[in-house]
């Protein structure tokens, strides 16, 4: 692992699970959700047009949320229950 990166675990659902196969990513330490979304768009251009939310510890997080090392980052496409 590069000394200036940290590992995060990616969990995907719905359409995103078909498009993202990589489960562990190395990102810049202290990255926020806003920058992570930009990173994901670069890493996985196939998801660029897709709407999705991010959850950490089973709660949706906003763009200012700072991600910690080894976090489980859950990418949630639009909900379709009901």
């Amino acid at each position: 692992m590069h000394p200036c990166t940290m590992k995060i675990n990616i969990v995907t659902f719905g359409k995103l699970s078909e498009l993202i196969k990589k489960k562990v990513l190395e990102v810049e330490p202290g990255i926020d959700v806003f920058s992570l979304k930009k990173f994901l768009a670069r890493e996985f251009p196939q998801i660029n047009q897709l709407d999705f939310k991010i959850a950490v510890n089973m709660e949706l997080v906003n763009e200012n949320y700072i991600i910690e090392e080894n976090s489980e980052i859950v990418l949630l496409p639009p909900f379709a229950g009901g």
Binding site: F13, P78, F79
Partner: protein, 148 residues
């Protein structure tokens, strides 16, 4: 009141009409209840780009969904004067015309059961991470998105 209880919401496949009947019958012993409201979600056979939906395959992020359902229950019991609340949602394949969601609110008087039922259904649609794959007759599919 049993709002604190963790309830098992998810059922595999379609929700059977007999299950709904039994659930109504069971409330006959609760004579403090004077009103029930029921919402049933049913899978539509939509026509999308010339193809007909024959089923929806539901999946979920279980841990978060259970937490969201718990929050919805807590909210409903704190806002409305409810005697009883049951929520069931399908996972896996549900064919068009079959029931995929059952929300059952009970109260002393009608207003609480009506109003809570509407609000609970809206919260489920917007807050609970459930995903649906609309499967067509020819085996292809698209991922469903809830309309507001």
């Amino acid at each position: 009141m049993t709002s604190k209880n963790k309830k098992n919401v998810f059922v595999e496949g379609a929700i059977d009409a007999r299950f709904i009947c039994d659930s109504i019958k069971k409330h006959g012993s609760k004579t403090n209840i004077g009103a029930h409201s029921i919402f049933l979600g049913q899978v539509r056979g939509d026509l999308i780009q010339g193809k007909t939906v024959c089923a929806i395959d539901y999946s979920t992020y279980t841990e978060m969904a259970e937490k969201e359902f718990y929050k919805i229950r807590e909210f409903a019991f704190s806002k409305f004067d409810l005697e009883c609340l049951h929520i069931y949602h399908s996972l896996g394949k549900v064919n068009k015309g079959e029931i995929n969601m059952f929300v059952f609110t009970s109260s002393k008087h009608r207003k609480a059961s009506f109003d809570s039922c509407i609000e609970i259904v809206e919260m489920i649609k917007s807050n609970v991470p459930i995903f649906g794959k609309e499967i067509f007759d020819d085996g292809t599919f698209v991922w469903k998105e809830n309309t507001i």
